[in-house]
Symmetry: C2
Subunit: 494 residues, 2 copies
């Protein structure tokens, strides 16, 4: 039976994914510094094995044969997702993938050095090479998938997301934020004039912050028997659903950034830990995509973790672990701090979407060939001045050289961040509509209803639905900017 | 070119070995408890891939063709070791290996429960099943390798080791130890009567013991950029040569057992870290075998780490880290403590070989069919009474149910422990012959000459020579019990 052959193949692929995921997490946390070269060799070889197993020529026949077999509902869904996965994996010729991998690696390596030196001129040709190949890639994917080139790129990260649906939603959000961001800054200035900021500075040992982090993780639903918290230079959520590795980094002079980072990664982790275990080897059993994944991290970090109700419960926990005595009025200005800046990853939830929409707009132009890499610094500067009133024209390192995504060839990924923020707000609104007492429960440290709601509607669904369908089924409506806008107005509108 | 095909294959196998080694070490140190089931699945699948890759039918042709190609000296040696590795891996039919794996797993699982209940009667049939299969295995290996059945088993662990060479050496050692062990105990009793033992008890935090352990590891030559120290239930040396993972376990009431454990595993680690890096993917680049590996751990633990000269340097280091104030006369009775006991892993260097020789003798009888499993408790008891004056007849849990080796099907492994101890003494004697000032250097914390000597003669040689040839080249003579006997007489003879 052909479905059985695919099922067996999926188990072999799961073993290789398991190895790659644990080796990857280990590299950032426990590996000896001198082990990197051999680790890279091993992971490249294992990735090659994964690719060879997953693209063996007989698989296309198995899929076709399995589609004629008597399958139950889960198997039918598994087969559909397997086909999607297989199509995305095989639609580029092997020699193209090799050329592209080499160009990306070289551009990423160059980027690391040249960004530090603010050297756009030396970087431009490498990025041009990557963009040329991305245009080719988009054309090939578009051809196979019957989508527009940019949609075909997004499809890898968020199946079903289409620019035609996203652009009007982003336009509404952008129009709102261009006025609202300065307004939120004014409201903040007024508040701080009345009540000066209590500095976060103090002395907090890593051990105590870690114990606080673990207590918070467990309270919001992280299963500590199937995951752990470590330290790494860049926080991440990795590992496998049965052993989710989240990391953070600590400063010993303040506790809030590590804690909010832990809450963010815990949101990702809850999704992974609660995926359907019986499907874990199938593409169907994996998290749906990048936007949904980010909606889960932002649900915990922003909707729960920056909610004043949460801090009514959390402040005593912080005080117990860190021997502090913060009031809600002292901590809230830090938790809701807004600032206009050049750097996306440092941005708050009010200004972050403007950074993303800028990239979404520019990368569509780049992929379509309506914008050339040479013109990127000026285009970036023009958008930044328009959206945030800041110029990057003399500072490409904090302009189009800011992110690893483009040098790494990841075009179509950026919208996921802001889609995730909007989806989190829309999920929160739907949850509160169903359970008006959510704030009170959270203020008591009771996250069960919020978690059950997401378990039923998001986590347990794996990859059964496209990204927009999953959202619509979970919240009862299509993606709508109004929920995120209302959320920002309530929290930052004064 | 066929050699190139084998070389490429070795790189793929190295990647799978890397994954299995790191996943194995991770399981014992950093894995979440709930991650075990998926980890076991992943490792079983990766082991299966390793086996399929390493035994693909075309490989035999590649080896034969490569043997006609123009190869340099290293390649010729690599090919020879590759053939040996391939022969050992392929000489058993796949269905036999499956049956054997199942029988071993079941017997090991039973053993864990039944040993705790001292239940020999329920254990006996499972061990009989394993022994029946080991006899079959030995016959098949003997046939392919042209060796006697027991030698064919030892060949997997220590290529070149033969019972005909080992038995007379063990006989000499046994004859010596049967008299010497009681004598050493008497000498010890006399000393303790004159100077009572200062108890080791105290309060030592894990952090401080770990810092001490790391300082000792580094001092004796461990490269901390290519390895690390963690905690696990059973101490081990794992990982890969570029990232050696050693572990220990701590008691907070005394520091000596963890420290000696760290020195032992550091000895294993030095061997791994100093293997020829360019050959790392070839069988030729691996450590030679179990006896040589144990000789390296015992060289550091026993020859260096229990040497009074070492403690002249080490005591101030201990005092610095643990805020202690031990004198050499206080610590030495602990470092050189001798005791007659039933348990091999708890034995000191005087009595340990008697535990091993007992097993070596009995397992040869078992493999040859001259002894049946049903008669094992009486045979064990008779040997224990003869060698150490202790009876196990009412206590099979501490008799033939003591070790995991036999339930796990590892017959031919036990001699490695005592061969390692003898080889370490012989290496030490050769080192001191070449460098009579070794004790003085070590008393100053200078391990460079001792390490250079082993790097040249053992570590850098990988698997270039058989176990006996490697020893003879390194020390200038065949394995000879006299060095180990002289070592024990000097240290424990009074
Ligand atoms: Zn995230
Ligand atoms: Zn050992």
């Amino acid at each position: 039976m052909s479905f059985q052959k695919l099922d067996d193949l999926c188990r072999r692929l799961e073993a290789l994914e398991h190895a790659l995921a644990i080796l990857g997490a280990d590299e950032a946390t426990h590996m000896a510094v001198g082990g990197g070269e051999k680790r890279a060799e091993a992971m490249a070889a294992l990735s090659g094995m994964y690719h060879r197993h997953a693209t063996a020529p007989e698989i296309a026949d198995w899929i076709e044969a399995a589609e004629t077999e008597a399958l139950n509902e889960d198997q039918t869904a598994a087969l559909r997702e397997f086909r999607r996965h297989h199509t995305n994996l095989t639609c580029l010729p092997a020699d193209f993938v090799e050329r592209q991998t080499a160009a990306r690696l070289r551009c990423e390596q160059l980027w690391r050095g040249l960004r530090a030196r603010n050297d756009w001129t030396s970087f431009q040709p490498a990025l041009e090479g990557v963009v040329t190949l991305v245009r080719e890639e988009a054309a090939m994917r578009a051809d196979v998938l019957g989508l527009s080139p940019y949609d075909a790129l997004m499809e890898q990260y968020d199946p079903g997301n289409r620019a035609a649906d996203i652009t009007p939603v982003f336009a509404e959000l952008k129009a709102f934020l261009k006025d609202f961001a300065p307004q939120a800054l004014e409201v903040q200035a007024g508040r701080l004039a009345k009540r000066p900021l209590k500095p976060l500075s103090g002395s907090y040992s890593i051990e105590k912050q870690q114990a606080l982090g673990l207590a918070m993780m467990e309270a919001v639903g992280f299963d500590l028997t199937r995951g752990s918290l470590s330290v790494s230079h860049h926080p991440f959520c990795g590992g496998v659903p049965s052993d989710v590795r989240i990391t953070t980094r600590y400063r010993t002079t303040e506790f809030l950034s590590a804690l909010m980072g832990i809450l963010h990664e815990t949101g990702h982790a809850l999704y992974e830990q609660n995926l359907p275990q019986d499907w874990s080897h199938w593409p169907l059993g994996k998290a749906r995509g990048m936007a949904i994944h980010e909606s889960q991290s932002l649900f915990v970090e922003k909707q729960i973790g920056r909610n004043p109700a949460f801090w009514r419960w959390a402040l005593p926990v912080v005080d117990t672990h860190l021997d502090e005595n913060w009031s809600l009025d002292d901590i809230q200005p830090h938790v809701h701090h807004v600032a206009r800046g050049l750097i996306r990853v440092d941005a708050d939830e009010v200004t972050y979407p403007l950074h993303v929409i800028l990239r979404y707009e520019l990368e569509q132009e780049l992929v379509a060939g309506r914008l050339e890499v040479a013109d990127l610094p000026e285009a970036w500067d023009a958008h930044m001045r328009d959206y945030l009133g800041l110029s990057t024209i003399d500072n490409p390192a904090d302009g189009p050289m800011q992110d690893v995504h483009w040098p790494g060839g990841a075009f179509g990924y950026f919208p996921s961040y802001t889609l995730g923020a909007m989806m989190a707000a829309q999920q929160w609104a739907a949850l509160v509509r169903d359970h008006p007492d959510t704030d009170e429960a959270i203020a008591k440290g009771d996250f069960s209803t919020a978690n059950e709601w997401r378990r039923d509607r998001i986590w347990s669904q794996g990859s059964r639905w496209s990204t927009p369908a999953l959202m619509e089924r979970a919240t009862g409506e299509k993606l709508d900017a109004s929920h995120f806008i209302a959320h920002l107005q309530k929290r930052y509108g004064g």
